[in-house]
């Protein structure tokens, strides 16, 4: 793990990069990283995020600045700009059931090729996917999902990079922290080693590549 400024971290992200962004309706999203992505005007991003949040918040900021070329998400209904950009075909949108979304990312992070889920069988979601029968039940084969970068927001980070999350701001963050080539983290508080008890660590330090310095 290396501690870096937010400018330095975002400078590593090329135009067109695939980025996973933690958060659920903007809760638990690394806002400082997204603000800097907008400031550095990183374009054509392939974003993997649960939702498009709302304009002005979380991933919504990337749509405000029309920086997104592709979005893999479960719900965009509360962001009219994302909807408009989808309908105008400025953004390609893959809509995925939420349980499938998180399992695909988990598979990507855990070295699995995919998982078999009952979700989506017999619906539009099944189109073009392999169906596999196990013990008489039909499942969809949903394949692993990874990105070049994961932008993660933690509650506490220690000097080594061990992370905890707070309340409903945990959501996709720890799963995404396993599924990208480079993991960049903002934390509400950076604390000395030992402040976080071993049993309370959610993301172990070796998973974190860069921690954004505070204050």
């Amino acid at each position: 793990m290396r501690a870096v400024s937010v400018e330095e971290a975002v400078a590593m992200i090329p135009h067109g990069a695939s980025i996973m962004v933690g958060g659920f309706m903007g809760v638990g999203t690394p806002e400082r990283l997204l603000d800097e992505v907008v400031r550095q005007n990183k374009t054509d991003l392939e974003v993997i995020s649960n939702d498009a949040a709302v304009p002005g918040k979380g991933v919504g900021k990337l749509f405000d600045a029309t920086l997104v070329s592709r979005l893999t998400a479960t719900h965009i209904g509360l962001n009219p700009k994302a909807q408009q950009q989808m309908l105008a075909k400025q953004v390609a949108i893959d809509l995925v059931p939420q349980g499938t979304f998180v399992e695909r990312i988990r598979a990507g992070g855990c070295g699995l090729g995919g998982v078999l889920t009952p979700t989506g069988v017999g619906t539009l979601v099944a189109e073009g996917k392999r169906q596999i029968e196990v013990a008489g039940t039909t499942f969809l084969l949903e394949t692993a999902l990874r990105a070049k970068f994961a932008l993660v927001h933690a509650f506490l980070a220690d000097y080594l990079g061990n992370l905890t999350y707070a309340l409903t701001a945990r959501n996709f963050n720890p799963i995404m922290a396993m599924a990208a080539d480079t993991v960049i983290v903002t934390a509400e508080h950076i604390v000395p080693v030992g402040v976080i008890a071993p049993d309370h660590v959610v993301t172990p330090a070796p998973l974190v590549d860069y921690l954004i310095t505070n204050g």
Binding site: V27, G99, V102, T119
Partner: protein
């Protein structure tokens, strides 16, 4: 009593002590208001919480404690938080005893459509497909008809949410149970006759000899 209150009150009667319950947005959210005081039910918010409590008092909201719509909530003593893989492990794995969702259409087989109107509303399915596929019991809470058209149809014309049929639909006019590909009228709303329900329902209903009125 208004239509929403009838539905929410009646759905609340389906909950049992110890149940883990997931409430969707809209009418389903209201169900929490009608749970009897003595009944210990765990409410899950699929963004990562079991033990959701009421909206916090003015000034007591925390930005990192919200429902799946991003609105502030509170957590009751004994609450637990977890990541989204766990949240949907609970949902898909059959650990959620009851899920209550809104609906656009339910057909005679109990198939639900509630996530998309092609060419018009494409917000994404969020957690709905997992909830309907995985919860032990699926209850749809919705108006019986919209703009004079039955929402309980012979066959869904909108894209399905799941191939797995729902268990119960509670509307402002009736309670309808689904099993083995058939729909049975179980109760009528106060002041609504069986004939009125049948007249406004597109799907064929099995009508038992005696159809009691909701006790709400």
């Amino acid at each position: 009593m208004d239509a929403q209150a009838i539905i929410a009150r009646r759905v609340a009667q389906e909950l049992r002590s110890g149940d883990l319950v997931n409430l969707g947005i809209g009418i389903p959210t209201l169900v929490a208001n009608y749970v009897p005081a003595g009944l210990k039910v765990f409410f899950q918010s699929e963004n990562g919480l079991i033990g959701t409590g009421p909206i916090p008092e003015q000034g007591m909201a925390h930005p990192l404690l919200t429902d799946a719509g991003g609105r502030p909530i509170s957590a009751l003593p004994g609450a637990s938080t977890f990541d989204s893989a766990m949240s949907f492990g609970l949902i898909r794995g059959g650990h959620v005893d009851v899920t209550v969702l809104g609906g656009l259409q339910v057909d005679a087989h109990g198939h639900l459509a509630n996530w998309m109107i092609p060419g018009k509303m494409v917000p994404g399915m969020g957690g709905a497909m997992d909830l309907v596929s995985g919860a032990k019991r699926v209850i749809v809470a919705m108006q019986h008809a919209a703009k004079g058209k039955s929402k309980i149809v012979a066959k869904c014309t909108l894209p399905l949410t799941s191939a797995r049929p729902v268990n119960l639909v509670v509307t402002d006019m009736a309670v309808i149970a689904f099993a083995d590909g058939t729909a049975t009228l179980v109760e009528t709303a106060p002041g609504v006759s069986v004939g009125e329900v049948v007249a406004v329902t597109e799907a064929d209903l099995i009508i038992p000899n005696a159809v009691p009125e909701m006790q709400i």
